[in-house]
């Protein structure tokens, strides 16, 4: 003879909501079939659930009032994406700057050398006869020239 199995109201509730493990759920279903009191409880609870769903479910299909939608945070547009690699147009990349620096430095040096040569400051480039400073000092003042 199998011992009588007890089913609590909590278990019956979990059975109704499908929250019992399958083995226990089949036990409860078998016992409930032979128990009028349990059957009537299940019937009442099912009716309660049906009434609750039928009463409140339509509310979820109604339009939401402005009062609530206006309370939601306003979405801001995402920030404008900045080109990371190329950078803004008015800024020249570092490599380009260095190249132009080198070119301008070379041109400057060439210009300086040309100017030096043209002015006759480089030995052997002056117009006329070249003499040493001692000879120049020995000459009479009238012959020294400007």
């Amino acid at each position: 003879m199998t011992p009588p199995r007890l089913i609590t109201d909590a278990e019956l509730c979990a059975f109704l909501d499908g929250e019992l493990p399958p083995a226990r759920a089949s036990d409860v279903a078998a016992i409930a079939q032979c128990n009028g009191e349990m059957q009537s409880k299940l019937k009442i609870w099912r009716a309660q659930d049906q009434w609750l769903r039928a009463t409140f479910a339509p509310l979820a299909h109604e339009p939401v009032p402005d009062l609530l939608t206006q309370a939601l945070p306003i979405e801001r547009a995402p920030p404008f994406p900045r080109p990371v690699e190329s950078g803004p147009a008015h800024i020249i990349p570092r490599d380009e700057t260095l190249k132009w620096k080198m070119i301008s430095l070379t041109l400057g040096a060439l210009l300086f050398a040309t100017a030096l040569y043209a002015s006759g400051l480089v030995p052997g480039t002056a117009h006329g006869q070249t003499i040493t400073i001692e000879k120049w000092m020995d000459q009479p003042r009238s012959l020294r020239g400007s």
């Binding site: 089913i7 109201d9 019956l12 509730c13 009442i44 659930d49 479910a57 299909h61 609530l68 979405e75």
Partner: protein
């Protein structure tokens, strides 16, 4: 900050939950949802929709409990069960609505209300028995469903 689209998607079910908790005109349910939105958006959870929804429902249940909503004036077409539902303790009512109306699992409902699964089952069972008893009382019948009695 949660995005507006995900929040908007939750609004209809939040209104339903609030209305069921209040058992009152929709205006009061909307006011409750508005307060819950303000409370949650002050410190929103990370971008997780499930967590956001749970937090909003938890805030609603909490607000409904602490504000001790006055019983709405009975109307001519009020269903007897509606009156019985309002008479339930707030915690019991929230548990019943989460499971029966919102379709939450016991685990989800327990997490939402911040209680253990065992406590949730206790509240849910008590709520169903109390509803049945109140209905019997309204019909003038005897109390048929005993409170948490073991049955064979």
């Amino acid at each position: 900050m949660p995005d507006t689209a995900s929040l908007s998607a939750h609004l209809p079910s939040l209104r339903r939950f609030a209305a069921a908790l209040c058992g009152a005109p929709k205006e009061r349910a909307d006011e409750l949802v508005l307060r819950a939105l303000h409370a949650v958006l002050r410190d929103p959870p990370a971008k997780n929709e499930a967590l956001l929804c749970r937090k909003l429902r938890a805030t609603l249940a909490h607000l409904a409990q602490i504000r001790a909503l006055p019983r709405p004036a009975p109307q001519a077409q009020t269903h007897p069960w509606e009156t019985a539902l309002i008479d339930l303790p707030a915690g019991h009512r929230a548990a019943l609505i989460l499971v029966s109306v919102e379709g939450c699992s016991y685990e989800e409902a327990a997490q939402t209300l911040g209680i253990s699964r065992a406590v949730l089952i206790g509240r849910l069972t008590a709520a169903r028995l109390m509803l049945a008893r109140r209905m019997d009382e309204m019909k003038g019948g005897a109390i048929r469903a005993p409170y948490l009695r073991l049955v064979k």
